[in-house]
Amino acid sequence: MSFTSFEFFVFLLIFFAVYFLIPKKYQWIVTLLASYIFYVYASLPAALFLIFTTVSTFYTGVLMGKANEQYAKTLANGGDKLTREQKKLYKAENKDKKHQILTAALVANFGILAFLKYFNFFASSTNSLLDFLSIDTALPSLSLLLPLGISFYTFQSAGYVIDVYRGKVAPDKNIAKFALFVSYFPQIVQGPIGRYDELAGQLYAPHKFDYTRVKFGLQLALWGFFKKLVIADRAAIIVNTVFDNYLDYKGLTIFFTVLLYCFQIYCDFSGGIDVARGIAQVMGIELRKNFERPFFATSVADFWRRWHISLSEWTRDYIFYPLSLSHAFARLGRSSRKILGTYLGKLLPTFLAMLITFLVVGIWHGANWKYVAYGLYNGILIFMGILFEPFLSRVFTQDNAKINSFSWRFMKILGTLFLICIGRYFSRADDLMTALRMLKRTFSIFNPWVLSEGVFSQLGLNEKNLELLLVSILVLLVVDILQEKGYSLREKIAEQNIVFRWALYFTAIFAVLIFGVYGIDYVATDFIYMGF
């Protein structure tokens, strides 16, 4: 059941009523039941994969916990008789044992994810290669089930077992509670990818009904619906028209459509996250932020610190750092310094780790070469940014201009937005070749007259809808600017008198109900990130 469906509203109303009426110590059980009802409603067979991940990662934690206990017990009971070397050896053995358990769990869970999500991509790529080599054999294409939110809950569960392995968190002892951590319904569809140390305790704890918190949660969810239904799904009409018929368009028509797609995907994804965070807030649970106004990023690296933060941080903590700090990369760094010199040699392992990390980020989005290109494009840009940033700053901020001046910052924002837009050609086009063709068509002509010839009102939206879309984006930007400046809008609103507040609430609610794109005329598209 989609967040924008009527069924979900009914489900949510019943859930909230039960959640706040039952004794608080049972709240987590009700939330677990609701999460499974929500999941099974989408697909019963898919729930089996969710259960497998839950059980396997839970017992991975338990086994590692037992290994630690055994280790501690042995040390406590006769540790003083062991030599330092023996202790070291025993510690290494324990670590190896845990490593084996961890590896088995990660291979099993990522194996399922890889098989279900990427097998057909692998098969078709292999078949193309075999065909190219004139080898007369082919891998079959399978009709595979892709469980809802599999990338999200697999990454979340994997994060947990790695944290247990690292000793960052103690293994969970209650499988039912752990099942809630993996399946928590507001976030399972599209994140944010939760961390056990931040989320589990909140999920298991009782929560009182707090009027202000509930009010703030509903406001956040309403804002999310506005972004999703009023902006994203309206922008999608133009974006789909142009991307589905890109051969009919060129120049700035394509570029501005891609720019619009940047807003679409931001509003779609962050809107969904706001709904999820809002619902969780009503329950007294604070989910991690997934966005920090990415359109104000001043570099691609900054963009990824503001965009899909939970995934960026996950890959940073569980891929980038482990790779960068590994023995192999340390060796590589030493060797490269000898060949490339200190500066570049030091950067090479970082570059490689970043490239691998962004390759994962790219592939995480889907099984297609376009996502590989998308990931690599971003990885390379970030590295280039690191490489040339000092030089560019020197060049562009001469004549005593301050590096923090508005103009410099604004130029960097525009430049970053441009680079992000180029990346979006890859993530939105049907495939890599289409993305490249669209890029070629974009830069083949400079046609600013499309802005004055009403071209954009012929792409699926009439003029009134187009104006509404632009006004809505303006509202979004104003809100983002205020937030960027540190204003807490919800708190500011709460300070106003009741007539103003309620007028604002009703305006917002009815703006979503009236101007939202849903129903039969326009089919509200599912949240884009649900597919990942």
Partner: protein, 352 residues
């Protein structure tokens, strides 16, 4: 505690204001085309009838709301009746209209339209507009909810929420709203003609094909889904001891195989069947092909009066329906008849 009470009161006030605004905006956003408006006005008028005050309930599609004038039957025979029909009415709608109507009325006879709906395989997505005309004016009830569920189960694009809250269906009209959308209150209008669509003399000269209703042995096949609703109507009426009559109104697109199919159905359930497309019945009606047909399949009010006179006589003779013209409890029928007569005279005057 004081705080909690205050918060609850605030929440109740907030929800009440929301509800009122939602209702007002729903009224604004629903379409205001003639079909939709009259569907509301005729359904509102049905709810406004005094309880247990009608003898005959007519359930059917556009041929019924253009072809039966209960006020003429009142004038001629003192029979009270009401036509619950919308254009292209689905058999599912007729069934749930029947269930709902029996909560308000205890008719002696139910006359059911036995024409194209029985053979159509009703496509709910394609005919969504007609379903909306039928469902939206209904009061919220179990029957309405069940009808919605049936529609949703038969269609791919239909949703329960959009039928329960029509604003969710019509919200995208925001860019075409005009003055009438704000001024016209669809829920307050009550039509006085007892279910007749309107007084209409706009006629088309029609001609029946040469081979029209030529007897043959072919029997048309029913749509099984639609037949199911007919059977449910028959069962319900039999349970409630209500007489049923199947009627096919005069129409060009009818044929003998469908006549035979309907006849077989009627015989199976031992139900009288009047097919006004048969030669003998057309003759008995004495329809003027120049003035009595609005188009090939629908009658003008002149044609409707002829059918009503014939059908009224049949109903009174067959079921012994009491003449209520002198019953003071039915005074309102005289008032409505006078309105009908005045409007009729005015319409005639306009033609002249």
């Amino acid at each position: 505690m004081k705080n909690t009470v205050l918060q609850i009161i605030k929440a109740i006030i907030f929800l009440t204001i929301f509800y009122l605004l939602f209702c007002q905006l729903s009224n604004t956003f629903v379409p205001k085309d003639e079909e939709y408006r009259t569907s509301f006005a005729r359904t509102n008028a049905f709810y406004a009838l005094p309880k247990d005050s009608i003898d005959v309930l007519y359930l059917g599609a556009s041929t019924f709301y253009r072809g039966i004038t209960p006020l003429d039957m009142w004038k001629d025979y003192g029979i009270t009746g009401y036509v619950r029909a919308v254009g292209g009415q689905a058999p599912a709608v007729s069934y749930y209209y029947l269930v709902e109507s029996l909560k308000y009325q205890k008719p002696d006879v139910v006359v059911i339209d036995a024409s194209t709906p029985l053979y159509e395989n009703y496509d709910v997505d394609e005919k969504e507009g007609k379903l909306r005309n039928a469902v939206d004016p209904m009061r919220l009830s179990v029957e309405k909810f069940e009808l919605i569920q049936d529609i949703v189960s038969m269609g791919e694009r239909q949703t329960v929420a959009s039928y329960l809250f029509p604003m969710l269906r019509y919200h995208s009209r925001w860019d075409e709203l005009d003055r009438v959308d704000f001024e016209y209150n669809i829920k307050n209008k009550i039509d006085p003609y007892k279910g007749l669509l309107k007084i209409d003399f706009e006629a088309e000269t029609i001609k029946f094909p040469d081979e029209y209703m030529q007897p043959n042995n072919a029997v048309a096949e029913y749509s099984m889904t639609d037949l199911g609703y007919y059977k449910k109507m028959f069962q319900l009426c039999q349970e409630k001891d209500i007489a049923i009559v199947l009627v096919t109104m005069p129409r060009v697109d009818w044929d003998y195989s469908r006549h035979l199919g309907t006849k077989q159905l009627a015989e199976t359930y031992n139900i009288p069947y009047i097919d006004y497309c048969l030669d003998e019945n057309l003759e008995a009606l004495g329809l003027d092909l120049k003035t009595d047909f609005h188009n090939e399949n629908h009658l003008t009010t002149l044609g409707a009066q002829k059918v009503s006179r014939h059908l009224g006589a049949f109903l009174q003779q067959t079921y012994g329906l009491e003449d209520k013209r002198n019953d003071p409890a039915y005074q309102q029928w005289h008032v409505d008849l006078q309105t009908y007569k005045d409007d009729y005279a005015e319409a005639i005057a306009q033609i002249k």
